[in-house]
Amino acid sequence: MKSKFVWLACTVGLVLASATAIAQQKSETQPAAARARLITQPQYVNTLRAIFGPNVKYPSALAPMNRVGGLVEIGASAAVVTGGALDRFDNGARSIAKDVFDPSHREYLMPCRPASEMKPDDACARKFFAQVGRLLFRRALTEKELKAYTDIAHASAVSLGDFYSGMSATLSGMLVAPEFIYVAPATEVVRGHSQLTANAKAVRLSMLLWNSYPDSELLTAAENGSLNTDKGLVKQVDRLLASPRLADGVRNFFADMLIFESFETLAKDAKIYPSFTTQVTNDSKEQTLRTIVSHLVDENLDYRDIFTTRKTFLTNDLAAVYGVAINDPDRWVPYEFPANSRRGGLLTQISFLALYSHPGRSSPTRRGRAIREIFLCQKVPDPPPNVDFSAIENPDPTIKTARARLTAHSANPVCAGCHKITDPIGLALESFDGAGSYRADENGAVIDTSGKLNDASFVDATGLEKALHDNPSTPSCLVQRMTSYALGRQVGADDASLLSDVNSKFAASGYRVKDLLRVIAMDKTFYAAPLIDNKPTVEKADAGTSKVGSKS
């Protein structure tokens, strides 16, 4: 009886995947609740690198956040800064602040020179805080704030006997300030409608497209009101989409969607896969992200083709695992697998194959589940407890292939339901071992890679990739994820019309991700804001408060 229940739960769960998910989400989230987002590690680095340049060292490990609805970016809307997490922010802040005012960097990072390096210089300090504070807090600092920071820098310069040490101590405080590490969008009421303030709009836009806080130009567009006009918005969206920083945004979205933080802990058994070195681990992740950025940003091609494209980028370490030669072993080189290659598309890249395997062997179940959950937005239930797996594990040496093992496994009806969903697609990738290398046989037995995805039959990995490419859920899953990512929350039933609209525009564009981003960035829903505790957070009257800061 128990087993039947599990089977049903599993099948129903999948068949009604989106409906169930949406129904469940409806009760959990209000559609447009603009929750405060905590800055993520990539946003932190992207933002600060844009302000202080690439020569300053940025911390590599802020506290990890939980993944919600398939995305860490949604988790950021619920993440809390614990004591341990604050410690990491604080350490990072101090190391960055020290580096910024290091003699090797301050020459070009400071807009002015102090009259004496041993004494306070309020005018120079003020100039720096006005300029940098505006970029960190995404708005001009108030006169009060500016004075407070200048005063602290002054007092610190006196007690430390050094102008730059005072600047550094003050900057390290700004880098743990709530205004910097939290994005809590301000709203205002215009003609009776609650909407994000222009500055908050600018933040949304740059977070979506660049995965960073706005640059000065975008803030200026917000400050002078042009971002609130259609023409001004178009101009900024076009500018951001055309910028090289779009690659940061697209890269971050896909690293998030593909759960690439798992690479931090990916390990293979060195005795079984001696060639799968740390370099291969790092390069395989980078290969996939480079492929995606090149395909979707540089070439502006059909999203669905990332499952079939044979064009990619390789290093010597990767080429060794793929079994191909590259001509410039010192660098990343563009590479195209030949037309009749077994490789092509994301699923046959080492990143996917190795990530969804065991340390010592492949796993059709993990691979199948990952395809369903990541690319088709379907939920495959966790395996049930209290199943005696060993009863079906047959130590019989005549069982040589994963398919044969799983067939035995599926004799148990408790397991059969879910394995029916994951295995037929996962088995198509069995020509690739747990490290992603090609193999013609498993323990001497021929590998059968045929299978079916819904109604599409295929005989091998290339066929599976084609089936995924043609599956209508593939682009609509991306739309669902991208919209959730943009809004910082799971999309639900109330978003049905938005999703349907975005879906049809995405299809009309030929599934160009740049166009998808543009559609979202131009949609009013993207900037919609609820009343917080039934009040706008910034009354229109406040908008005229005097602000100080560079408007360049």
Binding site: K268, A270, K271, I272, Y273, P274, S275, F276, T277, Q279, E286, S294, D298, K311, T315, N316, D317, A319, A320, V321, Y322, G323, V324, A325, I326, N327, D328, P329, D330, R331, W332, V333, P334, Y335, E336, F337, P338, N340, S341, R342, D433, A435, S437, Y438, R439, A440, D441
Partner: protein, 387 residues
């Protein structure tokens, strides 16, 4: 010559985890669509290099009288009292004990001027890998060779390896000795040690009566794997600017072992204790047993005594104390054991036979000159440096 479907599958079966046969996977499926298959290419890059010979762990068997004294021992034998020793060291302004000639000649650069007083023992033994270089069964003198004791290989064939006689009881050159350890360390570290072997025209990996062999200097690193070996299947560029190091010969594969034809002079760069030099193997033959991930075997050849001494003097002699060698004894032993290129005038042989064992892993050997071909399948976009 054509690669049949069965051998195609055999080839694929041979592909091991994390490694690759050099024939590009890209090229292989073409074989299945009716065009005659091109024969397989096997690319190899050298990962280890050691003097061959019947070494035992404690050396008791091949060196019953112990390991040879070094220059410090000989210095003390030559100058017995502390006063004498001090006087010589002060006279030549050195803490080293190299200036032992009658006029202060260096024992390293002028070995003929110094006579070591302590005895020097050649390595004893009868078994070694190698090749019968002088074609005699007993090592008797011929017009071109000098009398020497032969070794027997595993099959009982007579082979030559006189370098073992010279170095068998020298601590530094024995396995894990200082010189040997340095070479082991430097092979991955210094690209000057990158030794590529490319076997083309392989129709059958087990038995093939004719294959082409190219030996060249490579430009790329070899990378340790997670299991104490080196990663197989990485790409290795041929150093095409060093054209004189690109050398060709023919060979055959017998029971999975590549046996090359003799090469009059095989030249390859190498290093020893950071000194870089060029090795010249005369009348060289390679024998390499092919494995799924690489090859293991040896190079047997003659070495010009004077030349061989010179580069060893530089790397070994200067580290005399630490390396436990005394160069005048080594020089004398090289001349005493020399067995090739007899000088008709003096009757002294001027070169010496020697065998070095080597390991290789598979590599994809690439040439810049073929870049255009590959470029056609490369998508657009400039190559960028690794982040």
């Amino acid at each position: 010559m054509a690669l049949g479907v069965s051998s195609f599958f055999r080839f694929l079966t041979g592909l091991q985890v994390g490694t690759s046969r050099v024939a590009l996977l890209a090229a292989l499926p073409l074989a299945l669509v009716g065009t005659p298959a091109s024969a397989e290419t096997i690319g190899l890059v050298m990962t280890s290099f050691h003097l061959a010979g019947p070494f035992t762990n404690d050396g008791k068997k091949e060196c019953p009288q112990g390991l040879n004294p070094d220059n410090r021992d000989n210095f003390r034998a030559q100058y017995k009292t502390p006063e004498e020793q001090k006087e010589i060291l002060i006279k030549y302004g050195s803490t080293q004990m190299h200036y032992r000639g009658p006029n202060g000649e260096s024992d390293t650069y002028n070995p003929e001027a110094v006579k070591d007083l302590l005895p020097y023992y050649d390595g004893l033994g009868t078994v070694s890998v190698g090749v019968n270089l002088d074609s005699t069964k007993d090592g008797q003198a011929t017009d071109k060779t000098c009398k020497h004791a032969k070794f027997a290989n595993e099959s009982g064939d007579a082979v030559d390896n006189q370098l073992f006689r010279v170095f068998g009881c020298v601590k530094a050159l024995r396995p894990q000795g200082l010189y040997d350890s340095f070479i082991t360390m430097e092979i991955p570290q210094l690209v000057v040690n990158r030794w590529l072997v490319e076997i083309t025209g392989v129709d059958d990996r087990t038995n093939d009566n004719q294959v082409d062999v190219t030996i060249a200097h490579g430009l790329d690193e070899i990378v340790p794997d997670g299991n104490g070996g080196f990663v197989a299947g990485r790409s290795q560029r041929v150093d095409e600017k060093a054209a004189s190091y690109i050398q060709h010969t023919k060979g055959r594969i017998v029971n999975g072992v590549l046996i090359t034809d003799p090469m009059p002079e095989l030249r390859i760069t190498g290093s020893g204790i950071i000194e870089v030099f060029e090795r010249r193997f005369k009348d060289a033959r390679l024998q390499l047993k092919l494995t799924p991930t690489g090859a293991t075997g040896f190079v047997a050849a003659y070495h010009d005594v004077q030349r061989f001494y010179r580069f060893h003097a530089k790397s070994l002699g200067l580290h005399g104390v630490a390396a436990n060698v005394s160069m005048p004894s080594i020089y004398a032993s090289l001349l005493r054991n020399a067995d090739g290129d007899k000088d008709p005038a003096t009757g002294q042989c001027t070169s010496i036979s020697g065998v070095y064992t080597m390991d290789f892993v598979n590599a994809n050997i690439v040439r810049q000159s073929s870049k255009k071909e590959v470029a056609e399948v490369i998508s657009k976009g400039a190559a960028t440096a690794r982040p």
